[in-house]
Amino acid sequence: MLGDECFKLAKEAKDVTPDHIPAYNEELVRLVTQESRYLWRRVVELIQATESSSQQSSSGVFSPSQSTSKPDLSSQPFSNDPADVSRSMESENMQGQVALYVHTIERNKRCLMAYHRKRAEFLQSLLWAVHLAPTMVPQNVSQRLAPEEQNYAREYAKLNMKYRDSVEATLCPNDSLDWALNGEVPPRDLLIEVRVHRDCGEIVTQSGIVNLQAGTQHYLCRSDVEHLLTIGYLEHINPT
């Protein structure tokens, strides 16, 4: 039935969770857009067919009992002439058909928009998790994104950086603020205990240079290491 394809898209959009995104279904998207374009062409054909047939009957060829120039449903409600009745039925059919196609096109559009919007929202939250560094996105996730979505991710990061560059001088002239920090969990402690899971090399902290080797534990300033925590290189050990 019409509208079944875009329903599949809606179901795929439902599968997008904060932890997981299914692969971009380019095949289905193309199918839905092709169906919409085909239906629109049919709508135009049907309307043109009605207009041309109304012009023909205005010359008086089909029905001599006709008084008006266009076979309008409202102008001849009580006509018993079978030709008129069948013509008005056909015109009703055509109107219904056009309405059906137009509503299907609108439904397709809605499903497409919702699908892409869900994925774009996922991308945005993913980018904030990797601190606006598109290169840190794990391989298995970036494989499932379409090229346009990867481009979107890069452009989003660039846009944020551009904003930061333009207002940094006026908003925080002395300190260097980490603009890519995820602000969801409010900071509680200034210094945190972390255990290193993957080798990060050396990082520059406010108290000097620290060498982060796998398996070691450190007591460091929160703002220095937060970006390594969200991507899993370090683990936060909570004092209970």
Partner: protein, 177 residues
């Protein structure tokens, strides 16, 4: 009437549920891909998805009638034993779909509300008890809206335990990694 978000996926999914309709005109394109013809003649009964039915009904091309799940008889039956109804088997989008139909079917908001109020108490009870074998059957019969609510309840319980053990302020790695 509740405002429906254009981008809401649950709204889109719920709108796909079928309603029985009487066609006033011939319509093409309604059959499935496998059947022979897809043209449906006028004055035939056909089950259309709600999004299609509502639009064509307001324009007069079809006449939509109440689906079986929301009929008076069914509503009375459900209200008699609200907590033992298998909503997921009957209609997984029961509440969402009912909200969409609320303007057309008289008395539907009251029916939905009563069902919801009775069942939601049981949902809260079960999620507070943690792992519970008796409640498993009820949990499997929940509709989508109730299932989401149950997940939120359980997450809230977990958050309480986390806070008590000092895990609330722990920085975690993001879910994708």
């Amino acid at each position: 009437m509740a405002r429906r978000d254009y981008y809401d996926i649950d709204d889109i999914l719920a709108g796909q549920e079928r309603v029985p309709c009487l066609l006033r005109v011939d319509l093409d394109g309604l059959g499935t891909a496998g059947s022979g013809t897809s043209k449906v003649q006028r004055n035939q009964r056909w089950a259309l998805p709600y999004w299609m039915g509502e639009r064509l009904d307001t324009e007069g091309f079809i006449e939509m009638s109440t689906p079986a799940v929301f009929s008076k008889r069914a509503s009375r039956m459900y209200a008699a034993s609200a907590t033992s109804m298998q909503l997921r088997a009957i209609s997984p989008h029961y509440y969402q779909f009912g909200l969409q139909l609320a303007d057309i079917v008289p008395g539907l908001p009251a029916v939905l509300r009563n069902m919801y109020m009775e069942r939601v108490q049981r949902v809260a009870q079960i999620s507070q008890q943690g792992q519970n074998v008796e409640g498993l059957e009820f949990v499997q019969s929940l509709d989508r809206t109730e299932a989401k609510l149950m997940q939120k309840y359980q997450a809230a319980q977990g958050a309480m335990a986390d806070w008590q053990h000092g895990r609330a302020y722990k920085l975690d790695k993001a879910g994708v990694f």
